[in-house]
Structure formats: structure tokens, C-alpha cells
Amino acid sequence: MKAIVTVIGKDQVGIIAATCNALSSAQVNVLDVSQTILQDYFVMIMLADLTTCSVSLAELSELLRKTGEGLGLDIRIQREDIFNAMHRI
């Protein structure tokens, strides 16, 4: 299963490191990364492969949320299907 990780928040040192640490601790492979600064906000979008993920998606979601909370970031993970459904025919 593939999922989209989005990280939104104030730019600071260590955002990518913290996010990737959390993902790698759960054996999640990152397939693609796109990052930009939008109106002073750091916005990163990752495509992640959950095939080898060692925890449930709900647990991973909670882990990422907590990781983000410590840095004042909004980190969420959602199944890729929802974006495909909404934006592709």
C-alpha cells in the first residue's frame, strides 16, 4: 500500500531528518519527495511505500503526528487512494 505524507509548518532545522527518522523506525520506504516553501511555510510531500511497514497505518499516523507536534509541524499520512479518487478519473 502506498501513502502520502505531508509536512506543513514553519521552516526550521531538522524537519526532513525528524520525519525520515520516524518513517525509517517503522520500516517505511520513501519513494518520492517534493519540497517547497509556500508563503513562509515549509511544505513537504512524500510518497511512501508501506509494504514493509512494521506498524499499522493508524499507529504510524499517530507516531508522525507526535513527531510533528514536538516541532510545531503538522505531519499527516493518508492513503494515496483518496488523492487518486479526487483528482484522477
Binding site: T6, I45, L57, S61, I77, D81, R88
Partner: protein, 454 residues
């Protein structure tokens, strides 16, 4: 990979524009629970609901977490209780059935259960009469049970005896729940052309043409449509307005379809329909009235409102229908006054009146919904309001409904607080001229020519 802009757009819709799945509703057939003894029948009803829906809420929450899309309500609809209870020989009234439904709803954790219902568009069975007589107490003595009565269809005409009874029943329900502003009336819908697969409360029931169990999903997203229109600007012609609404409705509905299929798969229950209704909430930014105003009306209810609503309703359907495998339920824009921040403001300003709302119901989903009227409104006036709405539904081959609250002791200008999704209802004026003689006639209004299609 999906473009980052599209991902952010979806997240903004969810975070800032109140995009959500309004309800996953499981329909459950209860016909096999019929039994001559009321206690046995109630026990069978309770057991069947609890067994069928034990995983409904946890499944909904899991889907919510994985897709990152809020699912506001998980609900249950059941076979109209007047049918299930018909075999029971020792029940003076049907309040025990309502209590069994309420217990089951609490056990599985759903916030509403619909189906304390009777279909009497052509006439009453003995069971229908007992159910209708029990509605006020059933709603006053339970928390989560919703009731509905179908009093007319295009095929059968309007049962005016039922219309009269419902006016009286609504008054009684209001009186029994005086301390909560007539809360029981917020859980009671009077229909014409009721549908069998509606996932929305308070009018949901599981029709007899339905499967043993079914999953129906209701989507929502007035805020998303509003934002899309806002970015379009004030000088775009209506062709572009309609196109923008269609595209937005398509996206919203695709999400609903995805969730419906996922819920159906996980629960092992067949998928029924996605209901394309645009359902508002009392939250700022989630209002149908504000969409109409965005089209260029100073206040919802002024001249042009019916045309704006007609366009909105049609475009929502056109966009949604391609996004879903099976569309059903009510599928259209809802205009519940107390549940829509813009409608509340428009009603309070005096520009949105009951008469205008009636006109609006000719071109959108359902009808006079969540409207508070003065506590001293006569039962016959309420019946006459129901008759008018039923006539609109009957002649136009569409579903119409009345959910009206004559809150005891209130007068025009008061605001009744229901809280939560039910919102707050400004008490609106009704005409003082009486309809008593009209309602006292009884009998049936014959089916219109539109019914004779064969």
C-alpha cells in the same frame, strides 16, 4: 505521482472548508424479528442490530484514520417498525420498540437510529395507527431514535387523515419535550415520496426493497463549493458557475464513493448508494445559504434565491452522478434552517420566510427542514404546512418533507438552541389565517395525472 498542488488542495478542503463524509449508514432488515410477543420481538430487534452493526463504528474510525478524512456520523436505519411490529399481539403502544432501538444504538455507539416509521400514503394498517400514536412518547422517552411517516406519493396521492394526525402528533411531541425546546420534533420527519435508501437522519429507514444489510454513504461539502465559487469571482456567467460546482461535486462524491466501497468491503456488507446531498452544518463556512449569496444575492431568501438553488442542486447532481457507481437517497441540496449558519442569519433578518422556503423546496432536496414556529401554532396549521409540502412532492415526482418544531412557549424572534449538528432555530412566523376547516375534511387527495404513466 499526484501533483503536490492537488494534495494540498485536498488537505485544505478537509482542514479549512469542512469537507467530510457526513454519514456512513448501515441499513438493516428487521422483518425476521417479527414475533407475537412484544418482549421477544424487542429482544430479537436488539440482538439483530447489535450483531449486524458491532463493527460499524470501529470500521468507520479506522477508515477515517487511514484516509485522513473526517467521518462525522455512523448511523443505522432499520425496516419501518410498523411492519416489524405488525405481528405483535400484546403491544398497546410501540414505545418498547423505540426503547429497544435506542438501547441497540447506544450499545453499538451510533448517534442516531432511523426507522421508527410507517408508510401510510394510501391508508393505515392497525399497526401503522399504533405506531403513529406512539411517536410523541417514543421520541420523548428515547435519545437516539428517529421517526418518519410517509403521508403521500405521486402514485397514491396524499392521505389527508395522516396529514391531520401528524399535525397533532408534532404538537404532542413538542409538548412532551418542552424543557428541551421541543427536541422530539427534530427527530420526526413527515414525507411525501419517501426513499428507501436515504442515509441521512432523521428520515432514514431501510426499505422493504432493500437487501438484508446495506451500506449507504452521505457526503457533504458546502464549504468546498463556496470556496470554489469565491475563487471564480463575481462576474463569471452562470455557465461557469455551474461548471465549477459540477467539478467540485465530482471530487467530493469520488471521495464518498471510495469510503463507501472501503466500508462495504471491510464490513462485508453490500454497498448501496452514495447520496449526493449537499448537507450544511451550523459551523461558519459550511453553509448552503452562503453559496447562494456567493452567486450574487445580498441575503438568502431574496428574489433570485430559488433560481440560484435550482442551479446549485442540478450542478451538484450532474457532477456527482459520474463520480459514483450508484447514486440514491435524497441527493440534492439540503436547506435545514437551524443547521445552516447562513439560513439562520437570513431567517433572523426576516428576509428568508416560510413561504420562500416552500418555494425553494420545489427545486432542491427534501423540504421544510428544521424550522421552528411559535409554540401556539395550531395543529391544523402544521398539518396544512405538511399538506402544501406533500403536494409539491406529489406533483413534481420528488421527495418532500417537513421537520417543524412548534416549541412550547416560544414566539417569533426567539432562538431555540438544540446544540451539535442540529444547531439553533430562529422562531419564524406562520400565517395567522386558519386552515382548520381544510384539515378537518380528511380523506385522500387523489393521485395526479403524473402518476398515470403506464
Amino acid at each position: 505521482m499526484i501533483h503536490p498542488k492537488e494534495i494540498l488542495e485536498t488537505i485544505q478542503m478537509i482542514d479549512q472548508q469542512h469537507l467530510d463524509i457526513r454519514t456512513i449508514t448501515m441499513g438493516i432488515n428487521l422483518l425476521d424479528c417479527a414475533h407475537p410477543d412484544v418482549d421477544v420481538c424487542c429482544e430479537q430487534i436488539y440482538n439483530k442490530i447489535v450483531t449486524s452493526a458491532k463493527n460499524l463504528v470501529t470500521t468507520g474510525r479506522a477508515i477515517e484514520a487511514e484516509f485522513g478524512i473526517p467521518i462525522v456520523n455512523m448511523r443505522i436505519s432499520v425496516t419501518p417498525i410498523s411492519l416489524v411490529a405488525a405481528a405483535t399481539t400484546n403491544a398497546e403502544d410501540y414505545v418498547p420498540f423505540a426503547k429497544a432501538l435506542d438501547r441497540a444504538a447506544k450499545e453499538v455507539g451510533v448517534n442516531f437510529i432511523g426507522g421508527f416509521s410507517a408508510l401510510v400514503h394510501k391508508g393505515f394498517t392497525d399497526s401503522d395507527r399504533r405506531l403513529i400514536a406512539s411517536i410523541p412518547r417514543a421520541l420523548a422517552e428515547t435519545e437516539r431514535v428517529c421517526a418518519s411517516v410517509n403521508v403521500g406519493t405521486t402514485k397514491a396521492g396524499i392521505n389527508m387523515d395522516a396529514v391531520k394526525l401528524m399535525g397533532e402528533g408534532i404538537k404532542e411531541a413538542a409538548a412532551l419535550t418542552e424543557s428541551t425546546g421541543g427536541m422530539a420534533c427534530a427527530k420526526l420527519v413527515v414525507f411525501c415520496n419517501a426513499v428507501e435508501d436515504n442515509p441521512f437522519m432523521a428520515g432514514a429507514f431501510h426499505g422493504v426493497g432493500e437487501a438484508e444489510r446495506v451500506i449507504n454513504v452521505g457526503v457533504s461539502g458546502p464549504g468546498v463549493v463556496h470556496t470554489a465559487l469565491k475563487s471564480l469571482g463575481g462576474d463569471a456567467p452562470f455557465d461557469e458557475v455551474a461548471e465549477t460546482i459540477k467539478k467540485t461535486a465530482f471530487r467530493i462524491t469520488r471521495m464518498g464513493q471510495l469510503v463507501a466501497m472501503e466500508a462495504s468491503r471491510r464490513l462485508g456488507v453490500p454497498f448501496g448508494v452514495v447520496d449526493l446531498s449537499l448537507a450544511p452544518t451550523p459551523a461558519v463556512g459550511d453553509s448552503v445559504a452562503r453559496i447562494l449569496e456567493e452567486m450574487g444575492l445580498e441575503t438568502c431568501g431574496t428574489h433570485g434565491t430559488t433560481a440560484a438553488l435550482a442551479l446549485l442542486n442540478d450542478a451538484v447532481k450532474k457532477g456527482g452522478v459520474m463520480a459514483s457507481g450508484h447514486v440514491g437517497g435524497l441527493s440534492g441540496a439540503f436547506i435545514p434552517v437551524s443547521e445552516d449558519e447562513g439560513m439562520i442569519a437570513a431567517a433572523q433578518s426576516g428576509i428568508l420566510t416560510l413561504d420562500k422556503l416552500e418555494a425553494m423546496t420545489c427545486v432542491c432536496s427534501v423540504g421544510l427542514d428544521m424550522i421552528a414556529v411559535p409554540g401556539d401554532t395550531p395543529a391544523e396549521t402544521i398539518s396544512a404546512i405538511i399538506a402544501d409540502e406533500a403536494a409539491i412532492g406529489m406533483v413534481n415526482y420528488k421527495t418532500t418533507a417537513v421537520r417543524i418544531i412548534p416549541a412550547p412557549g416560544t414566539k417569533v424572534g426567539d432562538l431555540i438552541e438544540f446544540g451539535g449538528l442540529l444547531g439553533s432555530a430562529p422562531v419564524m412566523p406562520v400565517h395567522a389565517a386558519t386552515s382548520t376547516t381544510f384539515i378537518q375534511r380528511g380523506g385522500r387527495i387523489p393521485a395526479p395525472m403524473q402518476a398515470l404513466k403506464n
